[in-house]
Structures are given as structure tokens and as C-alpha cells.
Symmetry: D2
């Protein structure tokens, strides 16, 4: 499968190098507004620099990986769908749910393959946990608990164009909650505050937030987010059901433990998403390539992307209005 990479930033590099490392795929063309970034990535992965339109028009491209800024995603998806490319797009499709809906209509009309990059579904630990739920290990799921904490907050300049914590950060957890609950949430209660950095609050956002999701049958998910964790990138999930509990813990930097006069000490957890989810990005790409090669619809798809957006919007509204928000 011959890839065009649109966007040569941090996430574009991950996907491009994962493509390049596969025997059944290659990086052909790379586009970026910053041409030197595109050039550098092209050299590392064996591709060539090209304009976006050229990628979409090229006969030598089978699939595109959209790693451009969020506000370009929906347009690029539509163009790629019309150009009959298989599409891998970083989350979210768009910050505006209506724009997402319109985009998905184009995708549906063209019959394009579209996968949205909720990489955490492919983390080997989380994927194993979800598989065990599906295999019945804990019976009926009743309570899902998701804890996600970044090591440190992004600059306020990033915050102001991010769509806010619920759409930018917790959106991963909304997708994970849906992935684990196996039933759509029908109501959202959110609470948030700016405890880590006052400037984040002044920018109209929060850096600390908790959410309850409820499903129609009475299942519940609890989500907890913080933009800071002194001990590393805290990523844990737990699912409690009628027959037991499953949980996936963090990964430490090493397995070394020191014991001394102050007690026992072990390492911080892996520092951030590049380390923590390195395998997830590889396995995500693998799932995309397999689905696209077979011509079957991959998951998470555009609908999954939309659902996560709608939950983020509802959480945002719940936080602002201090009210529980029922979903359509």
C-alpha cells in the first residue's frame, strides 16, 4: 500500500515511520506547509515531497494519512474520499459536530474507507482488556473508570485553539468509554476547574475535569482528567462487571525497584504519548492497512469520531451550565 502523508509534524512522523517500517507499505509522497519538515521526513522514510493536491491526484497513492491541523481534516477527508483514496485521519474529524456530519455524508456517498485515529483502542493493554470484556470475562459491564493525566500542561497558546479540554484531551476517554461500555451514553454530567494553571482558566478552559456518562440500561463511566501529573503520563482504565473487574495499569520506565531506609522506590511511568503509545500507533496502522486492503470498513470509523465529538460537546455544555445534559 502506497501512502501519501499529509502533515509532517510530530504525529505525521509517527505514522510515516510506521508505514516505512512495514514490508507491505511504503511512503511515497509527503506534504507539509513547512517544506523543510516535509523534506526531512521524506529523507527519513524514502518518500518525496509533494503538494497536497498532487498527493490526492496521484495514481501512485493508495491511501492518505491526514496529520494536518484539525481545521483542515474535514476538507481533506472529503477530497480524499472523492479521489478514491483509503483515508486514515487523526482525531478529531472536526471540532464542529455539524461539519463532521456533513463530511461523513460525503464519505458515505463515495464509499470511501475512513478510519479515525483513536490510537488508544490499539494499545496492547487496553485492547486486551476490551477483548476480555467481549469474551465475557467480567460478565455485564457496570462501571468503567478512566484516568488520564498529562505530565504537564501545554502552552496557553495551544489551549486557546484546542477546542478546550473536553474536545482536545478527554475526547480520547469518551471514545474509550464507548469502546468499553458497549452501549451509547445517554447523559453527561461534567465538572471542571483550572487548578494547574490560572492562565488556562483565563483563556476560558479547564485543566482538571471529571465526567459521568450514563447509558440507558444504567451502566456508568467515570472519567478523570488533569493536565498535570508529576509522575509521568498517567493512563489507566478499569472496568467492573457482574463477574469481576479488569484493569490496565501504567507502564513504568523500567522494572527496577530500590529498597532502602525510606522504603521502596520504583520508576515514573512512561513520560508521554510517543513512548506510552508507540505500540498502539503501530497496531493502529496495521488495523487500517488490513481493513483497507480487504476493502472492509475499519473501526474506529467516522461515526465513532462523531460520537466522541458529541460527548465532548455535551460535557462542555454540562460544565458551562452546571447541569446534566441528556443526549439526543
Amino acid at each position: 500500500m502506497r501512502f501519501g502523508i499529509i502533515g509532517a509534524g510530530r504525529i505525521g512522523k509517527i505514522h510515516a515511520s510506521n508505514v516505512a517500517a512495514r514490508k507491505d507499505c511504503e511512503v511515497r509522497l509527503i506534504a507539509d506547509a513547512d517544506r523543510s519538515a516535509a523534506q526531512s521526513l521524506a529523507e527519513a522514510t524514502g518518500g518525496r515531497v509533494a503538494e497536497i493536491d498532487a498527493i490526492l491526484a496521484s495514481n501512485e497513492i493508495d491511501a492518505v494519512a491526514i496529520c494536518a491541523p484539525t481545521d483542515m481534516h474535514a476538507d481533506l477527508i472529503e477530497k480524499a474520499a472523492r479521489a478514491k483514496k483509503a483515508i486514515f485521519c487523526e482525531k478529531p474529524v472536526d471540532l464542529d459536530a455539524n461539519r463532521v456530519r456533513a463530511c461523513l455524508e460525503v464519505v458515505a456517498a463515495t464509499g470511501a474507507i475512513l478510519m479515525v485515529g483513536f490510537n488508544r483502542r490499539f494499545d496492547p493493554n487496553f485492547a486486551s482488556l476490551q477483548q476480555r470484556i467481549r469474551d465475557g470475562a467480567i460478565g455485564a459491564v457496570e462501571i468503567v473508570q478512566i484516568t488520564s493525566r498529562d505530565p504537564s500542561p501545554p502552552p496557553v497558546s495551544y489551549i486557546s485553539r484546542s477546542g478546550g479540554l473536553f474536545r482536545d484531551m478527554m475526547i480520547h476517554d469518551f471514545d474509550m468509554a464507548r469502546f468499553l461500555l458497549g452501549e451509547e451514553p445517554v447523559a453527561v454530567s461534567a465538572m471542571g476547574s483550572a487548578l494547574v494553571d490560572k492562565a488556562i482558566g483565563e483563556a476560558g478552559d479547564v485543566d482538571t475535569a471529571v465526567v459521568i456518562l450514563e447509558t440507558k440500561s444504567g451502566k456508568v463511566a467515570q472519567i478523570s482528567n488533569s493536565r498535570r501529573a508529576t509522575y509521568g503520563y498517567d493512563q489507566r482504565i478499569e472496568a467492573h462487571g457482574s463477574k469481576g473487574m479488569l484493569r490496565a495499569d501504567n507502564i513504568r520506565e523500567t522494572s527496577v525497584e530500590f529498597a532502602g531506609a525510606q522504603g521502596f522506590a520504583s520508576d515514573k511511568v512512561l513520560n508521554f504519548f510517543l513512548e506510552r503509545y508507540a505500540a498502539a500507533y503501530r497496531d493502529e496502522l496495521d488495523a487500517f492497512v488490513k481493513a483497507a486492503s480487504a476493502g472492509v470498513a475499519p473501526r474506529p470509523n467516522g461515526e465513532d469520531g462523531l460520537r466522541a465529538n458529541l460527548l465532548a460537546d455535551a460535557a462542555n455544555l454540562s460544565w458551562r451550565t452546571k447541569q446534566r445534559v441528556a443526549l439526543g
Copy 2:
């Protein structure tokens, strides 16, 4: 210190035997509607059977441990306060917050020593965690997570006179949240459902519930309850702050781990509150005896009891109305 024990049931036995094991205390008189239960406990602890009024009137009694049914607590506290006894009362003071308020006025007017039995504050693990928060280990507390799950649900007959999950079971977690947050909650969002036993739902209660508490400064507590956990009595707390995180894990039955062809297996957690909180009950009594001997007010006091009641009432209302409830 010479004790009168009022109530010779499961919890009365715990307190009586802890009193009897102390060198500085003794069990003198024991009352119970079931005279044979009182007699049996008297034999085990070296006390004598007596009527409640005789206990309250006796000159040989310094302190009473009120372990009678909940609906007798407030009356007994008032009588004991007027009789100048030091009072240890199992939680709650009453299910009705107004009755609690009236009772506490009597306590205040008489100057009586009153301690309310939120035993979990004295669990060595949780007490250590809270002490480290006070010592500044994690800086400012931001998110508290409390998970409490019983091994199996009580009979529906118990449920129907319990006051409901929020007042009967989660009340411990409301007290723990206050203990750890160090700031009063100002709003409650609750969600509950009957997933474990439909009969519990038909009785108008829930067996699965989650709650968010918010404080004025934007701190938050997440509480998760279930009336069932196949792996034992699940009791965990976690506190995340500006400088780090503290958590207290469950206690396993033994430290033995088996490794075999299916992987690694370790024991269930301690089965229920008698085993899990055995040390907590001892340390709780110790705190009461020390405070009463010194004539100083113990904690948790009647006000702590009232606050937990008010949070339980608010959670109950939030669950029923599907709305966030602001406090006072």
C-alpha cells in the same frame, strides 16, 4: 474508663471486645433487646447485662458505646449527654438531618463528648494517606477518587429500612471525601441504577452509583459504589494533587502469588469490613478513649456526622431528579 455497651449485635461485639482488650478500659454493662445476645457478650467481655436506662443512670459507667439500631441513636445520644457520659455512637446519628441537628444542639448544650463512628478514618492505610496530605506530600489536593464495593448485596429486607445506598453505604465515602479534600463540597451530582439485583430497584433503591462532589475552589471527588464485587471487599482511595498522587490499595488475604501456565494469580482482597477494618475499629476506640480521657472533643464529631448526612441527602436528590444539587 468503664463502658456501657448499648446493642450486642455484630458491631456491638466489635466495640465490646476492643474495650475488653484494653488495659485502661473495661466493659461493665451491656444492654440489648435480645437478652441472650447481651448475656453472651457479657460473658465474653466480663460485663453484666443491664437495661439501657440502668446503664445511663449508673455511676459506674463513664462512657457509652451506642450500637443500637439507627432509629434509636439520636434519642440515646441525648439521654447519654444529659447523663454526662462520654458518647461513642455508630454512624449515622439519624437518617433525618433535622433530627441530627436537634440532637447536636442537646450535645452542645450539655457539653458532652460525642464521637461518630466513621471507622475508615482510622484504617492505618487511609489514616497514613490523609496524614501525608496534611504534611504536604502532594501539595494542593485536586482530585480524590474513592472506590467502595461490597462483596455481595444485603437482603432486600435490609435495603428497605436502610435509608438507601447513599445514606447507608456511600455515607462512609462522603465522610472520607471530606476528610481528604480538606474543604467542604458545595455541589453534588449523582447517578445510580439497580444492576446487581432488580429487587433492590423495585424497592426504590440503587446498588450501583457514582457521585461527583465539587468544592468552592474547584477541587473534586469521584465516588464509585457497587453492592457487589466478586473478588472481595474493594476499598481503595486515591488523591491527586499539585505535587503528586497518593493511593491506598486493598489488602489481600495472603501475600502468596502463584505463577503457572495461565499466568500469575494472587489472593482475593479481605472479605468484608470485620476483617478489613479490624485495626480501624481498634484505633477508632483508642482515639475516643484518649479524647474522652483528656476531655477534648474527638473527631469525627457530630458535625462530621451531619455533613455526611447532608451530602447523602443531596446525592439522593440528585439521583432522583437527575440534576446537580447545590449545597446550602
Copy 3:
């Protein structure tokens, strides 16, 4: 069962208070060369002070707990056996194996009940591990690993009359190895050095030692001892077999874990044998009382005591001669 306690030191106090806490036992008489120690323990446990001979001659005594200095053990066992008392004796029976043999002949001739205080067999964790081996959890045992480290070395004055590390400290591990191997060792290879305290080496002993035990069928035990561990009283065992592995870990002071910028930190292990083996001492006494009441021979018995002595002697010889020592 009415007990006479011979020796009111640290270990005598443990056994006397465990006797006093049982409903089916009582402390009647207590002897100690230091009469005030005996008096103090008598007050705490409800007994009376008496001379040793009076205890042995008394009709009101069913069992004796011998907690006197080691060099008195064998004589006291013989006298108690002839006096038809059930006998619980702290380890070892004697430092000299021949003296032990002679003593056991008297025990056999009198038909006395004798239990030797290898308390670790009764630690709930180790007892559970051994039970699982007997239940076949790991198939045939192949390798046993025992790690025992004291928090800090005793004074050299103690060392010089202790019989040396192999007879004083590692003797517990020799008994544990036999308990877990289920087959008698036929050879011992020992290595030791004085790394913790040079004065221990100058006194002719070691403070750091490792031993290999071999059985006839080729099973092996590895033992590791140190007179120092900065992180607490390190007591771990591991058994590897044809079907899997079992291990029992240390017990931490609390279950609290702190996570911060330096990583994760948890508590030291329980400080020393009084805390670590509190339950073991209770369960050991329970086993003795049950066996003596039923008139059946308890384990560990005098033969177990002798076998551990012989292994300690062989290890001592192996260390001194730098040679593997085969056992009779």
C-alpha cells in the same frame, strides 16, 4: 489448658499474652530469674509468680511454655516431660545435637507432647504457600529460595553466645527448607563472611551467608541471610516446581503508595519479627493447644528441631572448611 510460662523476656511475653487472649487457656504461673519481669508479666496476663520447680510440680499446670535461655531448654524439657506436662519449647532444643538427641530420648520414653517453636511455619502466608505445595499446585518441588535478612545486627555480645549465624538465625530457614522441600537434605554447601560488622568477624562469626541444600532426588534449596537490611525485616520464600512457582512476599507497613517527580514510593516492610510474625505466634500456639488437647503429636516436633540443628552444624562446618558437607 492451664499454662506455666518459664521465662518472662521478649518471647515469653508474646506467648503469655497469646495464652491469656484465648478463651480455652489461661496463664497460671510465671517464672523468671528476674522476679520483677515475672511479676510484671503476671499482672498483665492474670497469672502468679512462681519458681520453676513449683511450676513443674504443680497440679494446676497442664502445659509449659519454655522461653528461658537456650542452655536451659534441654533440662527443662526433660523435667517437664517427667512431670507429664505438655511442652512448648522455643527453638533450639540445644545448640549441641548430641544433647538434643539425649533430650528427645527422655521425651520419647515419657511419651510427652513436645512442640518446638519454629514459628514461621505458622505465618499465614508461608503456611498457605506450603499447603498449596502439598495440594499439588506446583507439581514436584525443584528449587526453594529463602531470603531472610534482619533489619540490623545484634550486639557482638549477643553474637558470641548465639552459636553463630547458622545455628542462631539460619536455623529458621533450615526448618523452612525442610518444610517446603518435603525431602531431607543430604548435603550442604555454605559460604559466609562478615561484611556488615567487622566485630562480628573478629568474634568468629559471619553476618552474611548463603547456603545450598541438596536432597537425594536432586531437589535444591538456596538460602540467603544478612544481618542487615535497610528497608526492614526481609522475609521471602519462593518454591519452583514442575507445574509452576509459588512465592510469598514481604508485608509493607501500609498499602499507601506515593507517586511524584522521583517516581513511586511505598513503605518499608514490617520492621521485625514481633510485627511480622504476630499472627504466626498466635497460630503456633493454637496448633500446640489443639494437638496437646487431642493428645496427638504436634509439628514441628523434637525431631524437626534436631534436623534443623544438624543442618546448621553442617553449614557451619562447610563454611569453616570451605567444603561441601554430606549428611549422615
Copy 4:
């Protein structure tokens, strides 16, 4: 750096693919007696098939990775040294210590760079542990404990040409012991038996073995090996010193834990050396490339290889003679 790979078997594939993944290295030529294996590896890594002599004579080769059968190692090292190639050679240099000595003389005479593949030194966990020892975390090292167990025994056909467990399997642990002790062992006590597979015993080898190493200053290492572990590839080390203890645990397949009515269950450890030491092989190659590029001598070097051989020989002798063996 342009590599010639000699040997395209399991270990040759690892090194070749690690070379190919580096930006500063490339696989140029690959030799194997099985030409189709060489061809297949050449296609995967971008190299060409060649004869060994051609590799050694080629001007386009800077370094060779010797992954051929053990009995070819010493000859190949000598030829490569004379051909002025940087040499990475899988362990051991030869099963015969005298042959190793002769080979190292050639290496010394030619001034060649030689690194021997004790990959475990480069496992991130073990490397971190050793670095912390060097940084003084546990003060003076006193006791090292190494546990190495394979998931299942190799076929007897392999055993009979392996040199025996001590030279084939435990040799890694001898190197690790030296790496951690920081002082040369002066005596070895070994014990071994065939408990896993009788055919291994009939072939004159053992499948279960323990060893004690002693240094002049009285430090000690305990090593435990088994050719079977039902729960995966068991690889643990522990170092105890004057100021504390360091240990590196196994790595589980995932971090998922299940809790149910039977207790808690977690995954097996990573299955075998390819998974467990994947990072170690990468980091080992990195160390070799850096040293060879800088023209400095890498570690572990030929002397390290020889020392491990001598310890294996001594252990073998100790096992056969049932005697402690003093070294040189």
C-alpha cells in the same frame, strides 16, 4: 558503518534487522551455509549474499557480526581481526578456554575491536540496575541473586552439543554476576540435577542448577537456573548492599489484571529471549557501533567472554566432583 553478517539463523536475523533499522548503518553482505536463509535475510535487510571469505576480504565492510555456530567463532574472530574489521561476536568465543585465550592473543596483536554478545547487560532494566549500583545507590554490594529459567527445555539433540547447562545457559548469569559484583569471583560451588527431562540427565547434562560464587572480599552471588518455567521466561536479578537493595523484575505480556471470585490474575511473563531482550539487542548493537566508530574498546570484551567461560568450567567441575572449586 557497513556490516557483514555471518550466520543468518535466529540470532543473525536479530542483529541484521537491528543494523538495517539504523540510519548510520547498513547491511551489505550476508553469509550462511544455508544459502536460501542468507538470501531471505538479504532481501529483508537490503544486503547481498556472499561467501564468508568474500565478506572478510571486502573493502565495503567495516564490521562483522559473527552469528555462526559456536565452533566457528574463534576462527572467524581471528580472520576478521587480521582483516581489520570491527568484530561483534555472539557468546561464547569458544567452549574451550584455551582456544579463547589463543584467539584473544590474536585480537590483541591486531588491535582489533571485539565485543562479545552478552546481551543482558544491555537490557534497559538490568542496565539501569547496574548503573545505580555504580552510582552508589546501595553502597557496597554484598549479595547478588540471579534467577534465570527458560520456558521449556531444548531438544536433547541440542543439549548434547551445547557444552552443558553451565557453559550454554548459565554463562549469561556468570557474566551478569561479574557485571554486578564489581569484583572477580575466586571460588565456585555448583549443584545440578536433571529434574525436568530425564533424557537430559542421560545425555550427561543437568536442567536444574544452582551456584554460589564468592569474591575475595567476601561478596557472594547466588545463581538459580531451570530449563523450564510454566509461566514464561523468568529473568530476575537482585542486588543487596550496605545501603539497600535493587531488583529488576520480569516483564508481563500486558499490564491487564483480572479480579474475580478466584482472586487476582495477571499475564505470564514475556515468552522468550526474542521478546524479552528485544531492546537489549538494539542497545547492544548501539554500544558496539558507538565504540567501533570512536575506535575505543567496547564492553563486554574478549576478556569478559573468557572470564565467563572460566566460571562455567569451574561450575561444571564443581558439579561433577561435588566440591568447591577455587579459581586461578
